[in-house]
Amino acid sequence: MTPPILRTPRLTLGPATMAHFEAFAVFCATDHSRFMGGPGDRNDAWESAAMHAGQWALRGYGTFWLNDSASSEPVGRIGIWHPLWLDEPELSWVIYEGHTRRGLATEASATVLDWAWHSLHLAPLMSLIDPANVASVAAAQQLGASAEGEHVYDSGKTVTRWRHMPGGIA
């Protein structure tokens, strides 16, 4: 399935392009990618982008690449990440350095949650967040999500499972 285009007041959510890949590769090379397993090289970035794109083909839903609608600049990635090793789909996001603290993750999340609920008819989504990832914890709280417990990855890394409200945010 080809991803639809979703719009929020400030953002356009769409499929991967080479411009997105280039911006993502820059992000992956920095320490800002540490909460998603980084830093990584250009090949790691390509594999991540291709894996996320391939999940659309496999499951019919996936993650979107974010553009600032005004500048067309790539600012991050958000959507439904559902690899083999997660027992349910996850609302996952990353906002690149230079675009954080603008409320973009919250704005995009609200639209994705609405799409997941009304178009995909998925059960209320969860987000797995490292407690040290202060910005993402704040976004989850702003979205009205509640901490439900812990999730332990195979690597042993423990994160918090945040449950989003049924129907997205009010």
Binding site: M1, T2, A16, R42, A49, A50, M51, G54, W85
Partner: protein
């Protein structure tokens, strides 16, 4: 996004969740030794999704191969060009239960024909481990020729160069 190609006995199509157990079993088996295996289930899922994801990014990628007779998943074939590959590559994987029937040749010929008609690739190669005799023979059946001067993705691999001229 992913075109469906039918051959006499096979269908080349996009991925399905039902393919995953076969893919995991392949990567756990000795058959995967020539293509970077073995891999655990997580690695198998990653490899499978990456192969299809490049359709969205590059406009070409892999197909799942299905036996039209019984619908069974028999392998995958297609094209990819990750940043560490010097040139676009054509690759294939066949499940053990589907071997010896010419399925890989049939599927790869269809994929190559589609590529010649629909893509404008500057070049196309297959990187193959020297010990992977079956894959080298398949490349030869596809009329690929060994290129000893080309750089391989992994040192030690043979580079088989495909012709991108129109299919006869």
């Amino acid at each position: 996004m992913i075109p469906v190609l039918d051959t006499q006995r096979l269908r080349l199509r996009g991925p399905r969740p039902a393919d995953i157990p076969e893919v995991i079993a392949f990567w756990a088996s000795d058959r995967s030794r020539h293509v970077g295996g073995p891999r655990d289930p997580q690695g198998a899922w990653e490899d499978y999704t990456v192969a299809f994801g490049s359709w969205l990014i590059d406009g070409f990628g892999y197909w799942a191969i299905e036996n039209r007779d019984d619908g069974r998943f028999v392998g995958s074939v297609g094209f990819c060009h990750p940043p560490h590959f010097p040139e676009p590559e054509m690759g294939w994987v066949l499940m053990g239960h589907a071997e010896g029937m010419g399925f890989a040749t049939e599927a790869a010929s269809a994929a190559l024909g589609w590529c010649r008609t629909n893509l404008r690739l500057p070049s196309l190669v297959s990187y193959i481990e020297p010990a992977n005799h079956r894959s080298i023979r398949l490349a030869e059946r596809l009329r690929a020729r060994r290129d000893p001067d080309a750089r391989a993705a992994d040192e030690g691999d043979i580079v088989m160069r495909h012709s991108l001229g129109r299919a006869i």
